[in-house]
């Protein structure tokens, strides 16, 4: 919200002071040209109060409409029109008040030009001051907005990094390798290779980039294999993708957090055997992927509020496709299903 130039005690005091001084100067000048003291002061008060009102009008007008281009023409024309109007009103009123006095009437008629110039200068000065004030305010606002936008970008970046690194997965996997190193060194070595391939794939990927479903699934398979080493027979996966669907596109690292989520609630938070399924199909030219996992109905009650942590995926889909209807979730008989729809039009004509 912009602060109005006319608000604030300092402005009011200066404004009032200025017009009082100007009333005295005005009265004295008119008096020195031969008008009576009463006539001088009446005229000065009347003219200057009207002129002050005109200045306030200009200042308020600038608050709501700040001319960007042709602002000098705008000031000039507004100044000319308002001062002409002001001159007409004051002259008419003064004639009504003191019309009987011939000498005063002559003085009034002879001073029209100087009155007009003074009125124009006053109104013009007020307009220039207002423009400067509001332009400065606008700039400050713009700077603030820019800073906020920069901060948000930075936060998003940090969030992205945190998302990618998944420290717990990494440390737990290293712990499994450490355990295998003693008893089954061959398996430990194999797991080190899987983990490095997975990490390299994650670091290399750019979230702005689109991958084919085949490439993304290959990356996911590395992740799921590592979890299979950690949890042994408990984890089973069923990945069903038709050959023609494999060549469809999907934003990089979009599927990964959904599957991580399925693993978190399906595997980390339950006991017993777990089946994670990933099914992909082409539907009306779009790629539709369903990921399902079992969940513990008893303990998952309290996690309901967090919406199974899918809010960031929803957000990303919105940023990429400007649509809110691409992510659906459902729960049925202890199975939680996440369905993603990926429009393909952005990737058409993009075939290698």
């Amino acid at each position: 919200m912009m602060h109005s130039i006319t608000k604030g005690n300092r402005f009011r005091l200066a404004f009032a002071g200025w017009w009082i001084v100007w009333i005295i100067v005005h009265a004295w000048v008119v008096h020195s040209y031969g008008a009576g003291l009463l006539q001088g002061f009446t005229e000065a008060i009347l003219c200057n109060i009207l002129l002050a009102a005109g200045c306030l009008l200009v200042a308020n007008n600038m608050k709501y409409y700040l001319p960007q281009r042709e602002r000098y023409w705008y000031i000039l024309i507004m100044g000319l029109v308002l001062s002409a109007l002001w001159l007409f009103i004051t002259k008419t009123m003064l004639k009504l008040l003191f019309g009987a006095d011939e000498l005063y009437l002559a003085l009034l008629n002879n001073s029209s030009t100087i009155r007009f110039v003074i009125g124009f200068l006053m109104l013009g000065a007020m307009a220039v001051m207002s423009i400067l004030w509001y332009t400065l305010q606008e700039q400050q606002e713009a700077n603030k907005r820019k800073e906020e936008a920069e901060k948000m970008t930075k936060d998003a970046e940090l969030f992205k990094l945190r998302q990618q690194l998944q420290p717990h997965f990494l440390f737990n996997s290293l712990n499994s390798i450490s355990a295998l190193a003693g008893s089954q060194p061959e398996k430990a070595r194999h797991m080190i290779h899987q983990l490095s391939d997975f990490l390299r794939g994650t670091l290399k990927r750019d979230e702005q980039q689109a991958m084919t479903l085949k490439e993304e699934l290959r990356h996911l398979a590395l992740y799921l294999d590592i979890e299979k080493v950690r949890f042994g027979h408990r984890l089973q996966t069923d990945i069903r993708v038709s050959a023609q669907t494999e060549s469809l596109h999907i934003p990089a690292l979009l599927l990964q957090p959904v599957v991580e989520n399925a693993i978190k609630f399906g595997l980390y938070d339950t006991t017993g055997d777990v089946m994670i399924t990933i099914h992909a199909e082409q539907r009306e030219g779009q790629l539709q992927i369903s990921i399902s996992n079992p969940f513990d109905e008893e303990t998952a009650v309290s996690t309901q509020g967090t919406g199974f942590g899918l809010a960031s995926i929803q957000r990303r889909l919105f940023l990429l496709f400007a649509r809110h209807d691409l992510l659906h979730t459902g729960r049925q008989q202890g199975i939680f299903t996440t369905t993603l729809v990926i429009p393909q039009y952005q990737y058409e004509g993009n075939h290698h």
């Binding site: 712990n175 499994s176 355990a179 006991t271 309290s302």
Partner: protein
């Protein structure tokens, strides 16, 4: 000496087992894959030492400890650094960050041997009573009801009432008792949802339907489930702050 290993990953249990081979006097009496099994095993065997993971299915390692009346000495093994560094510096026997080396493990065993059992029990007791330091779900309370483990989601709690050494947790299903202080719950539950309106009452503000004046400087909070609870002068100030009035 009896030990129990509680971890949901068999490989993680394996490494503790392997490191323990060097200590013939420490006998692994049971291995458990989740907190429910853990509670049973600890009560059955009364072990001298427990190796405990924090993030596990159903209930966390901390929630599990809260359910045991005489908690044994505990060495935590976890990949979650943020959980408890400070707590373990002072209270637990030790805190092993996965993956940990044999040397680090040996140090933890040494530390355990140097403490007498009385001291250990005191440490564990302090540890689980220190709110804010323990990782927990602010969204739920885990307790034992007639020998069965019960998980109460915070949204289902009407209010908590001080009752001597216990706290009465009142829900739609009736009330449950837990051996904790009001101050503990005040910190453990989400302060945006639970407000200490009185020395003896901590209420779920989602259920307040209106607040009536009662006597000088005191008020009554009327819950939508049909109860009236006293609000003290300072409780009223806290309530106004959270409700933003």
């Amino acid at each position: 000496m009896k030990a129990i290993i509680i971890d949901d990953e068999s490989l993680a249990r394996g490494i503790v087992r392997e490191y323990l081979q060097q200590y013939p006097d420490i006998d692994i009496v049971q291995e458990c894959a989740d907190g429910f099994e853990g509670v049973k095993a600890i009560q059955q065997h009364q072990p001298d030492l427990v190796f405990l993971d924090i993030q596990m299915p159903k209930i966390t390692g901390f929630e599990m400890l809260e359910l045991i009346e005489q908690p044994p000495a505990v060495i935590f093994t976890t990949a979650f650094e943020e959980y408890a560094i400070r707590a373990f510096e002072s209270h637990a026997v030790d805190y092993l960050l996965k993956p940990f080396s044999k040397e680090r493990f040996d140090k933890a065993i040494q530390k355990w041997r140097q403490q007498n059992p009385q001291e250990q029990r005191e440490h564990t007791r302090q540890l689980i009573n220190a709110p804010g330091l323990t990782p927990h779900h602010p969204g739920r309370i885990v307790l034992k009801d007639n020998g069965k483990i019960k998980i109460i989601p915070a949204a289902g709690i009407h209010y908590l009432e001080a009752a001597d050494d216990y706290v009465k947790i009142v829900t739609a299903e009736g009330y449950f008792l837990k051996n904790k202080t009001m101050a503990y719950f005040e910190q453990a539950l989400d302060p945006q949802n639970f407000v200490r309106i009185h020395r003896s009452y901590l209420i779920n503000i989602q259920l307040i339907s209106r607040i009536e004046p009662y006597e000088k400087d005191s008020y009554l909070a009327v819950l939508s489930v049909g109860m009236k609870l006293p609000v003290s002068k300072s409780g009223y100030v806290r309530l106004k702050q959270v409700l933003g009035i």
